[in-house]
């Protein structure tokens, strides 16, 4: 007994600045739960999963019931949810010719259940790729006044601060609310001041975080993955996702992180809408102008962003920027980036300016070893679609699936931006295409000497071949970066048997 009391006493001394009696602490927690709990909702929906490639025949189409935690962040029914679960990206599974992929169909609508049991329908507004947060809008005939989470805008998380995280049990426990006491274990600089808290993943993702005096500090998210590792900072002007694909690596795993209110406020006022234009400047691999680099380059002071690769025909390229240019000011504001970890912050700042915004940059350019100060005005463009955004079209008779070629694919494979065609995404080994020797990744550029610039044109060519009952087709493809002819034998079904 003595031993047990001693332990309890020691813990209290350590954990609380002012030792409180147990029932005071109980009361505090109760107040927090009362204040924050009603804003925590259950989001439920049915997700359709479809297998592509060889997986397609194995798994076909499957349905999955998903439930997750959401937080009402605006009284008119705006609900914030973790992004990855609600809108998972297509996942490809290895295998050279026989690989496959799993894609997810987003449901038409979502069920939202409040703490008091009230049920609503909601629509997905959109997702912020960088923060991996999504927003749902509850639909209702009458104007809504829901218990929105009341953030404390001025409260800044402190290192070692004790906090309460509110979460939710899974369906088996009736979605009962739960909480956990933890501490802010570090303060991070990227992309803005954030604080990580450990072991709050299961059931706490998306959940509110409050201090013991009842201030709501933010929510638990997964630390945004930035691309500065090795290849230099990405994330500029919405290219985050692009750059991640280009570099093909995700440094470290995501960690549960406290996203403070100042990171969320813009999004809550103006939630991202899917299909809305994502701003894009077209630069990959940004690097901070560190103190050391500034000294070595003979640039008066550190702080700036060195451009790694300016993508062809991108807004940055059109404005005349080149790789190696060092941005020091944008719209008369200094670029105060002197560590590589901070590069993502600059990307976010630019992104907030939106598509069509004109950004006046001051930059240094290396002119035969001497740096000259220059200016350029970049009009932020719209982020080009990625290959994952393209619809896969099944050419079942020929035994392959194809997609339109995007700028992102061409950049990734270092092919000229003017390259046209339809890219083969899946080949059935024993199908006509497979037997003929077409391979996954081939970009079909011609069929029987007629140009193929898109999936639509490819389908038209196949239709013609079918109508003419041609016994063979000659594909002209770009494989890796070399062209090649592929002979495909066809056996279109005789008329009346189709």
């Amino acid at each position: 007994m003595i031993h047990a009391r001693l332990v309890a006493f020691t813990m209290m001394c350590l954990t609380l600045a002012l030792p409180l009696r147990a029932d005071d602490r109980q009361q505090q927690l109760q107040q927090i739960m009362d204040k924050v709990g009603p804003s925590v909702v259950t989001v439920q929906f049915t997700m359709k999963m479809r297998g592509g490639g060889q997986l397609g025949s194995m798994m076909g189409e499957q349905e999955r019931q998903v439930s997750m935690l959401g937080v009402i962040v605006r009284a008119d029914g705006l609900v914030l949810v973790p992004g990855n679960e609600i809108d998972p990206p297509e996942q490809s599974i290895g295998g050279r010719s026989g690989g496959g992929s799993v894609s997810f169909d987003k449901p038409e609508d979502y069920g939202v259940t409040l703490a008091d049991g009230k049920e609503y329908r909601a629509k997905l507004l959109g997702k912020d790729e960088e923060m991996d947060l999504a927003f749902l809008q509850i639909e209702s005939q009458e104007p809504l006044v829901l218990p929105a989470l009341q953030f404390s805008p001025d409260a800044q998380p402190q290192i070692a601060q004790e906090v309460v995280v509110i979460g939710m049990h899974p369906k088996a426990y009736g979605f009962a609310r739960k909480f956990k006491i933890t501490r802010v274990n570090s303060l991070l600089e990227k992309p803005c001041a954030m604080a990580t808290t450990e072991d709050v993943l299961n059931g706490y993702l998306g959940g509110p975080v409050a201090s013991f005096d009842g201030q709501v500090l933010g929510i638990i998210g997964l630390r945004p993955v930035t691309e500065e590792g090795g290849g230099g900072g990405g994330g500029m002007g919405g290219i985050g996702r692009l750059a991640r694909m280009f570099l093909g690596s995700t440094p470290g795993g995501p960690e549960p992180t406290l996203f403070p209110y100042d990171l969320l406020s813009d999004m809550i006022t103006n939630p991202p809408k899917s299909g809305s234009k994502k701003p894009w400047i077209g630069v990959m691999g940004m690097q901070a102008l560190t103190k050391e680099l500034a000294e070595t380059l003979g640039i008066p002071k550190p702080g700036g962003v060195i451009l790694g690769e300016v993508l062809a025909d991108s807004p940055a390229a059109v404005a005349g920027l080149r790789s190696g240019d060092i941005l020091t000011q944008y719209n008369d504001k200094p670029v105060e980036i002197s560590k590589d970890e901070e590069v993502a912050k600059f990307g976010m700042a630019l992104r907030r300016l939106g598509v069509g915004a004109e950004v006046a940059f001051t930059y240094w350019r290396d002119e035969n070893g001497a740096y000259a100060s220059k200016t350029a005005t970049v009009t932020l463009g719209e982020s080009p679609p990625t290959q994952a955004d393209m619809e896969e079209k099944d050419q079942s008779e020929v035994g392959m699936k194809v997609k339109d070629v995007t700028y992102e694919l061409l950049q990734r494979r270092k092919l000229p931006a003017t390259t046209k065609g339809a890219v083969v995404t899946t080949v059935e080994r024993a199908g006509w295409a497979g037997l003929g020797g077409l391979k996954r990744g081939d970009i079909v550029q011609k069929i029987d000497d007629v140009e193929v610039k898109s999936v639509e044109e490819l389908e038209a060519r196949l239709k013609e071949a079918k109508a003419a009952k041609k016994g063979e087709m000659v594909f002209f493809v770009l494989r890796d970066d070399k062209t090649e002819f592929v002979h495909v034998e066809t056996e279109w079904a005789p008329k009346g048997k189709e």
Partner: protein
């Protein structure tokens, strides 16, 4: 039937009749054939520099070879002796002598070495082996593989020609960026070929060398490949004359016409299909396009209906004198046109290696072939091939696959320029060097290399002296 004929020839008057006699006759033939080549069979232990983990190390291996003239020249594989600094040769009578590299050709994986006969202490004369003609081989012919499998010198294995013209594709790499085997098909055999057999002779029952054993298939049983001796003879001739093999290049990639004959309206086994034209190469400059059917090259008709015929065409093109204006007849869209192109010299695929000892990393010069592989705009800069753990270069962020463009403000267009800049900065003991790189041969980045010159002189020397263990 051929086997029986051979046996009849081999069965001497002493051989008893019946099955036993057939066996004895064959054995006698094999042993006669062996005796003709065995004295010329050598085990080769090369010592060469390899660039591993950011530093130059000396490594050794075991290979095989065969002496082909009275001056003591022996032929082996490029991958055995082509980059050797030192060669220790053991004859089949167990006598050891040193040898020197005469020249090598990575494209056919052939090297020629010369034994220092003056060192020879044996009593019997060194007898060179005779070359046969690989063109006369047919499937089923008896052959022996001689050499040092797994370093077990003086070994003989026996089998048949499994296939006389195996096409192994043109994508085989001898080392990074160095393709090989583009100019020949291979003799496939079930005579056991293991690591260490490389460079050893494939011998027919007449006791002639008909191939140079070069590779086996580790995932299978009894599938080994030899380079046909007809090709090897030409390579040896050139190496003996000039120390190297000069070839032409036109920058075109061909496909067999077979399945495409109907589509492109060609018949009679004529022509070869042009699949890819390398931008900026002679074929591109001459106006050749994918889809063209090449009918004649330099006045002679061309035919490649099957993949197995492509190496022959590649060789014909390569054998054109460098810089020659060649006329071509091409079928394009059903009509014949004549074009003229000027060949250029085929470069080696892989650039030269270099160790930057003071900065603790290794680089390689960038050839045109490497620039294409790395998808660089031009063959500029040097490629980082390794950086030592916790070394200066690694700390600065340099690693495999990075391309160095500028060092200390100096553009390094070639390996020579790079070495010039490097040596100058090391002489100056420059503490901080700004290096402009293409990270992963793609994204430009600036790094500052902080060099510590003091520690190296003490630590590095003993390590350099050590040599690595034996490998096959």
């Amino acid at each position: 039937m051929p086997a029986l004929c051979l046996l009849a020839q081999g069965s001497d008057e002493a051989a008893p009749a019946g099955t036993l006699g057939v066996e004895a006759g064959l054995e006698a033939r094999i042993q006669q054939a062996r005796d003709r080549v065995y004295p010329a069979l050598v085990n080769i232990q090369p010592v060469r520099d390899e660039y591993v983990g950011g530093k130059k190390v000396q490594r050794t291996a075991t290979g095989s070879g065969v002496i082909f003239d009275t001056q003591g020249h022996a032929v082996t594989n490029y991958h055995v002796a082509g980059k050797a600094k030192k060669l220790i040769v053991t004859l089949s009578n167990k006598e050891k002598i040193h040898a020197d590299l005469v020249g090598g050709d990575p494209w056919t994986d052939i090297a020629v070495i010369k034994l220092r006969i003056e060192e020879y202490k044996g009593t019997e004369a060194i007898r060179p082996a005779a070359f046969g003609r690989s063109a006369l081989l047919v499937e089923g012919d008896f052959v022996m593989a001689m050499g040092s499998p797994l370093a077990l010198a003086r070994s003989i294995s026996f089998g048949v020609v499994s296939c006389r013209d195996r096409a192994l594709g043109s994508d085989m790499e001898l080392e990074d960026f160095q393709r090989t085997g583009s100019f020949n098909t291979w003799i496939q055999t079930d005579a056991a070929i293991n690591p260490g057999n490389s460079g050893g002779p494939m011998v027919n029952l007449a006791g002639e060398v008909v191939g140079i054993n070069a590779r086996g298939n580790s995932g299978a049983n009894n599938i080994g490949f030899a380079i046909p001796i007809d090709i090897v003879k030409e390579v040896i001739d050139q190496i003996l004359k000039t120390g190297t093999v000069t070839r032409s290049w036109i920058g075109a990639e061909w496909q067999p016409i077979d399945q495409f004959e109907e589509h492109f309206q060609v018949s009679g086994g004529r022509g070869v299909l042009l699949g890819h034209v390398i931008p900026g190469g002679p074929a591109a400059k001459a106006g050749l396009q994918p889809g063209d059917i090449l009918l004649t090259y330099d006045g002679a008709p061309v035919s490649a209906r099957f993949t197995e015929q492509l190496p022959d065409l590649e060789k014909r093109i390569a054998d054109t004198p460098v810089g020659k204006e060649v006329s071509l007849h091409v079928l394009r869209g059903g009509t014949e046109t004549e074009l003229t192109l000027t060949t250029i010299r085929l470069e080696e695929g892989a650039g030269e290696d270099y160790e930057c000892k003071a900065w603790e990393f290794t680089v390689k010069g960038i050839t045109s072939e490497m620039a294409r592989d790395l998808k660089l705009e031009a063959p500029k800069g040097v490629l980082v091939t390794g950086s030592q753990a916790a070394g200066d270069a690694r700390k600065a962020g340099l690693d495999n696959g990075d391309v160095l463009l500028e060092v200390g403000g100096k553009p390094v267009g070639s390996l020579e320029e790079f070495i010039g800049a490097y040596e100058q900065f090391v002489d100056e003991k420059r503490a901080k060097v700004l290096i402009k790189i293409l990270k992963s041969a793609r994204t430009q980045r600036l790094v500052v290399l902080e060099a510590e010159y003091e520690k190296k002189s003490d630590e590095k020397r003993p390590e350099e002296a050590g040599t690595e263990g034996k490998e096959n």
